[in-house]
């Protein structure tokens, strides 16, 4: 369970902001609502003035009692108090109404900014941070921020009240006023002591909560497995433990926050005693009137109000501050993929040039950049300067601290692993390649020129770097050295949106959004009509897969496509790309999960689509590769062979060997297992009880 305690730590991109920074940052969000804020402030001030006037009027009334005043004047006073009450309520109404609007708008803006920031991040960010935690920053943390703002407005209104009362008291009798006001520093001191305690308790509590959410998320997603193995009990035990941990942390927090308020009250109680005593002495001396004495005693309660407010909601207040810190950290985290220019991208011809590219996933800080890496940085800096700083973009990719290199997105079931592990599996890896793998390079000094309109197939063992090529072309990850040119333009200078719109990617694990099949096919081209959607779908095979769907193209795919089979999801992903009509087609094992019935027909459809446009195809099925113009054989991030199918077969090298072994899988004589595995009694792990 160490991982759970580990999870109490913040994310690597978290940073701490000073209170001034936080306030300045938050204030910036209110600037567009300056008028509303001004009216709210005015309403707050007027409400407070009304509220202050009431005890003052009452104190005058009490003074009049000791004199000899007529009934009319006293009743007039009472009437004045009544009117002030009603007027105060009206101002308060204006304040609540307008502040709800302003806060609603500010939180909306903050959420939009946070969401935009998450969308701006490249895939290395998503590899590293759990999606549940990213989500909670955008929704829950911004919510907590809203609470702080509302509380702050309340607090301000009461501080205005304190100010006005203090002035009245000081002009009445400065000595008694100073005695009364002395409670202020004491209260602030107590608050300061609690502040540190509270902040720590709060952070722990919040992280425990985040951990709990993560574990709930994971088990809800994995509920099918738990059920199949009847492991509900073990999943439940895990949950229960985390739930209990979170409870203990929360109770600790509650204990800290629960004592603030009463301690404040005790302080004010003692102060009341002092003011009653010293004020009473002054009344006996006739230096202070009974009404003034009353006002002083009353003012203690008014002083206490903001403190009580802060103390009662201190938790939420702290929570909100910490939350806003997290939201800003998310917004401020720099994406590793940084464009150095924003050049318009016209229709692409489709030439792709890898020029001495160095690439690895994740961490950069613990190793010196290689010569070519340093060169790349220089190029980047030069570019940034020549761009006369239109945008202040960082010249080096942000180092990501800690954590294991995470090569693939969470959604990727089948992945090209770059860990040294896979290197071990590849028995024939050369010494050089091994060294480069140890340095973590997925692609080292990699060069490849793909002509416009060419179909290039990438083959090789797992971990050879096939998918990485596609991800770099997609600009999903930053590379560390060399250049990648698209139609002879540096990929780092392109407007990414315009560029990516011309790429058609079918990833290994097709992701569908909730909605219908048609919605998903239309994902890349929202304006496409039903006829176009259907035409794209029918391009795959004879379209009979559509009939197999319960409601055809209008079938609801369920969350993440869960109501469709893997093969169906892949067909939808293919249709999505066909409708998009991209200039460059990138297929990352796009047909791996399609059943053998459909596969042959899909191949025919794809061949037609690939004709005339640049296509990069990663495939484990060599049958899909044979028609490519050129085949690139990769091993450990290096091209070891290239050519067309016939030529490579004749060479009798690595490709021929791959070809043979792949076909072996697809023949009926293939039999990798031993006789002992063929038939007979079940093979069992020794000492296991047979379930009953």
């Amino acid at each position: 369970m160490s991982s759970i305690f580990g999870g109490l730590d913040a994310e690597a991109y978290d940073r701490s902001y000073s209170d001034t920074q936080l306030i300045r940052r938050s204030a910036a969000y209110f600037r567009p609502h300056a008028r509303t804020v001004a009216i709210v402030a005015l309403a707050v001030a007027l409400t407070s003035l009304g509220a202050t006037a009431i005890p003052i009027i009452i104190s005058r009334g009490i003074d009049m009692l000791t004199g000899n005043t007529g009934l009319q004047i006293l009743l007039a006073l009472a009437g004045l108090v009544t009117v002030l009450g009603a007027v105060g309520w009206t101002f308060n109404f204006v304040r609540l109404r307008l502040s709800a609007r302003a806060v609603g708008d500010v939180v909306l803006k903050l959420r939009e900014d946070a969401f935009r920031a998450t969308m701006r991040h490249d895939l290395s960010f998503y590899d590293q941070y759990a999606s549940g935690r990213i989500v909670s920053r955008v929704t829950s943390d911004t919510q907590d921020f809203a609470t702080v703002i509302t509380l702050t407005i309340d607090l301000l209104s009461q501080l205005v009240l304190i100010g006005v009362i203090s002035v009245v008291m000081l002009t009445t009798n400065w000595r008694l006023a100073l005695i009364t006001l002395a409670v202020g520093p004491v209260v602030v001191l107590v608050a300061m002591i609690f502040r540190g305690l509270a902040r720590r308790a709060m952070q722990r509590a919040q992280r425990a909560q985040a951990m709990l959410n993560a574990i709930i998320h994971e088990t809800i997603s994995g509920i099918a497995v738990a059920k199949n193995f009847r492991q509900e009990a073990s999943v439940y035990a895990d949950f229960r433990e985390t739930n209990h941990l979170a409870y203990k942390v929360q109770v600790k927090r509650a204990n800290v926050f629960g004592t603030i308020h009463p301690v404040m009250h005790a302080v004010s109680g003692i102060a009341s005693g002092v003011v009653i005593y010293s004020g009473g002495l002054l009344v006996l001396d006739h230096t202070v009137s009974v009404g003034d004495w009353y006002l002083f005693v009353q003012s203690l309660a008014i002083f206490l109000q903001p403190v009580v407010l802060v103390a009662s909601f201190w938790g939420q207040f702290q929570q909100g501050l910490a939350a806003s810190e997290r939201v800003f950290a998310l917004i401020d985290a720099e994406p590793a993929v940084a464009q150095i220019a924003n050049e318009q991208v016209g229709p692409l011809r489709g030439r792709i040039t890898f020029d001495h590219v160095m690439f690895r996933y994740g961490r950069l800080d613990d190793e010196q950049p290689t010569a070519s890496g340093a060169q790349a940085e220089e190029v980047l800096i030069a570019d940034a300067i020549s761009n006369s700083g239109l945008d202040a973009l960082p010249t080096t990719p942000t180092p990501i601290e800690g954590g294991l290199p995470r090569p693939t997105g969470l959604a990727n079931g089948v992945s090209d692993t770059i860990s040294a592990t896979t290197g071990v599996q590849l028995n024939e890896a050369s010494a050089l390649a091994t060294r480069e793998q140890e340095a973590g390079w997925v692609l080292a000094d990699f060069s490849l020129d793909i002509r416009a309109g060419e179909t290039v197939a990438i083959v090789g063992h797992t971990g050879a770097g096939k998918s990485s090529l596609i991800k770099l072309i997609m600009r999903f990850y930053e590379f560390q050295g060399g250049r990648l040119l698209i139609d002879d333009q540096d990929i780092r200078r392109l407007n990414l949106e315009q560029y990516r719109r011309q790429l058609g990617l079918v990833p290994q694990a097709p992701f569908l959004f909730s909605g219908t099949v048609a919605d998903n096919i239309r994902y890349g081209r929202a304006e496409a009509n039903d006829f176009e959607v259907e035409a794209a779908a029918r391009q795959l095979g004879d379209g009979s897969w559509i009939e197999a769907l319960p409601a055809g193209l209008q079938t609801d795919v369920g969350e993440r496509g869960s109501r469709l089979s893997f093969g169906q999801r892949q067909l939808v992903a293919l249709a999505r790309v066909l409708l998009q009509d991209p200039a460059i087609l990138l297929l990352d094992e796009a047909t791996a999960s399609i059943d053998p019935f459909t596969e042959a027909q899909v191949q025919a459809g794809l061949a037609a689509v690939m004709r005339g446009r640049t296509s990069v195809v990663v495939a484990h099925r060599l049958s899909t590769v044979r028609t490519a113009d050129r085949i690139i054989v990769l091993r450990n991030g290096k091209i070891i062979e290239e050519g067309n199918h016939e030529g490579l077969l004749e060479q009798g090298g690595h490709y021929a060997e791959l070809y043979t072994t792949y076909f072996r899988h697809q023949t009926l004589t293939y039999r990798p297992w031993e006789d002992a595995d063929e038939a007979g009694e079940p093979i069992q792990v020794s000492g296991l009880a047979t379930p009953a």
Binding site: V414, S415, P507, R563, T598, A604, H620
Partner: protein, 618 residues
């Protein structure tokens, strides 16, 4: 009590008849805490009113010209009352907060447990984001029902009543204004409450929708970026967040319009007038006027607080309702704990089995508990076959033909709508679910690994404790041992969201190792990946062959060798069984089956597999 697939022994029974009863039953599980809370609330209100009376006495003492000694006593009494108040406050706050945390913890436990008890049909229908919102946010909101909401509301009520009693000790006449005030406030609060209810519900719903759509965009980031749809996603999110903002503003407006504070403001003026009038009539002393006005001041806080708390309470009730809807949603399957429980031989018979997703009964009610399924037809139609113990039955057919659905009827992920599925001659519905599932292992196409160590993930398959040796033996049999040892932490390597990512082939072998430990008699192998690479492929196929040896296996695979070697092959088309037999029989009789093995060269101009092989072979 609804039917469930999973229960634990020491489960506490909560009252689920209504959201309020439910929360109350959670609170009453720890009766001592609410008792402490109530006692201390009374103590607080009492000392507060006492302080007001003591302050008034102090004034009278001073006005009547007493000495500093009397004044000091009065001052000490006031300070003492406050200290007692503070001490009660500490006990009060801690008891209510601890109670709230316990309620939160227990409610989370309860809803989580109920989720584990739901059938997969149920889960298949839910959005993870929505479930998450209920288990996390709604549960937290429920805790807030206890503290601060109910706590403050009780405190408010007590602090409304106790000052009234104190006022009555000054003069009965003085009760006039506060009593009218109370009646008016009660009406104002009721009205407010009614207006707030729908608004609070809308606010929660909007939050859930926003959360779900956000979670989806984050999970599908590769596609979002691949299609350069960031702007469209931003637009979609802005729309959802904007709808939430509108609900938030509406709630703010209802809160602003609340009348109780207006009533209070007017009441203070009237009270002052009344007190002054009585004073002039010589029926009150100066000190008593002051005490009265201080007690009126004590009435302000409760009025103000209860307004905020009602809004929280409203949201909590809405949350509790959503949680209850989830907990009480009917699930189709039950544990059937008293059912047949014995060792399975592995004989499977399907008798005219049909199943469609729309055949699932009792759509759970309201609060968007699952959208209606779009499916209108049977996914599996009138299927009959017989698998004898130890046989391998391969199921082939086009994507969407119903292969996976068919296998899910065996372990009762779903129940057949028509016909029957018999295991060892007993209808699966008559088996104890526990006994049935523990003897059937499923290797799904989408292999889920938990954020635990590899060893724990493998041991997941086992019933009861297993040793490290057994885990390693299973891994060896599954051809997973070598790649596991290659990780720096070996079997202790953490995988999943917080650890290393495994490749598809590696996951598959972990799943097979898992199945070895569960040692089933029936195996469902749903494997939709195709050949990965030759090294890995040899190992995967060998592992597959080993796990299915001697076990009745329903096999879905793209690996043609495995299909051809099956004892029986079922050919499905649009949910119907159109042919069955051995490979040789089907090659002779089924045109559809032949299509897999002899690709049509004329369609795509590729040579058939068996022609290409010989020249490349040596």
């Amino acid at each position: 009590m609804s039917r469930r697939e999973f229960t634990v022994a020491d489960e506490y029974n909560y009252d689920r008849r209504s959201p309020a009863r439910w929360i109350a039953s959670h609170v009453l599980r720890y009766p001592i805490l609410p008792v402490i809370f109530l006692i201390t609330v009374l103590a607080m209100a009492g000392t507060q009113s006492l302080a007001a009376v003591l302050v008034g006495r102090g004034f009278d003492t001073a006005v009547s010209g007493a000495g500093p000694g009397d004044l000091a006593i009065a001052a000490l009494l006031v300070a003492g009352a406050y200290l007692v108040y503070s001490a009660s406050d500490i006990a009060n706050t801690i008891s209510s907060r601890v109670l709230a945390q316990r309620v939160e913890r227990d409610a989370r436990d309860e809803v989580y447990l109920s989720l584990l008890g739901k059938s997969q049909t149920f889960h298949g229908r839910q959005r993870v984001g929505d479930l998450m919102a209920r288990v996390t946010n709604d549960v937290q909101q429920t805790g807030q029902m206890v503290s601060p909401a109910t706590g403050y509301i009780i405190e408010s009520v007590v602090s409304l009543i106790v000052p009234l009693i104190a006022i009555s000790t000054l003069s009965f006449d003085l009760l006039l204004v506060p009593t009218i005030f109370l009646v008016c406030v009660a009406f104002a609060l009721r009205k407010y409450n009614r207006e707030l209810r729908p608004v609070a519900g809308a606010l929660r719903r909007r939050f859930g929708i926003m959360n779900t759509s956000l979670a989806e965009a984050v999970s599908g980031i590769e596609v979002v970026k691949g299609f350069a749809q960031e702007k469209a996603e931003e637009g979609r999110f802005s729309r959802d967040a904007g709808a939430y903002r509108d609900a938030f503003v509406r709630e703010g407006e209802v809160e602003a319009r609340s009348f109780p504070l207006l009533v209070y403001g007017i009441a203070v003026g009237l009270a002052l007038g009344h007190a002054l009038f009585l004073y002039l009539d010589n029926r009150l002393s100066v000190g008593q006027v002051i005490t009265f006005m201080a007690l009126m001041g004590n009435l302000r806080f409760p009025t103000m607080f209860s307004l905020q708390m009602f809004s929280i309470a409203q949201q909590s009730i809405a949350s509790a309702r959503r949680i209850l809807a989830l907990i009480t949603a009917e699930t189709e399957l039950d544990e059937n704990a008293g059912g047949v429980s014995q060792a399975i031989e592995g004989d499977i018979i399907f008798n005219n089995v049909s199943f469609g997703y729309d055949a699932i009964s009792s759509e759970p009610d309201h609060d968007s508990m699952g959208a209606a399924l779009a499916a209108t037809s049977m996914v599996v139609k009138n299927i009959s076959f017989h698998a004898r113990p130890g046989e391998t039955v391969a199921i082939v057919g086009q994507t969407g033909a119903g292969k996976t659905t068919l296998t899910r009827l065996v372990n009762r992920t779903f129940d057949a709508a028509e016909g029957e599925v018999l295991i060892d001659g007993v209808d699966v519905r008559d088996w104890s679910l526990d006994s049935l599932r523990s003897q059937i292992a499923t290797i799904e196409q989408d292999i889920v690994l938990f954020s635990r160590t590899i060893a724990e993930n493998i041991a997941f398959g086992a019933q009861g404790e297993v040793t490290q040796e057994q885990i390693e033996e299973a891994a060896r049999l599954a051809k997973a041992h070598d790649f596991i040892l290659a990780f720096p932490d070996g079997y202790d390597t953490v995988v999943g969201e917080r650890g290393v990512t495994l490749s598809g082939g590696q996951r598959q072998r972990i799943a097979i190792a898992r199945a070895f430990l569960s040692n089933p008699r029936i195996l469902i192998l749903d494997d939709s990946t195709s050949a990965i690479d030759s090294n890995t492929e040899d190992q995967i196929q060998r592992a597959m062959r080993r796990i299915l040896k001697g076990r009745t296996t329903l096999l879905i695979t793209h690996r043609l060798v495995q299909i051809s070697r099956a004892d029986r092959i079922l050919v499905l088309k649009n949910g119907e069984l159109i042919a069955q037999g051995t490979h040789d029989e089907l090659m002779a009789t089924s045109a559809l089956y032949r299509r897999i093995f002899v690709p049509d060269t004329e369609i795509h101009g590729v040579r058939p597999v068996h022609e290409a092989l010989p020249q490349a072979g040596q």
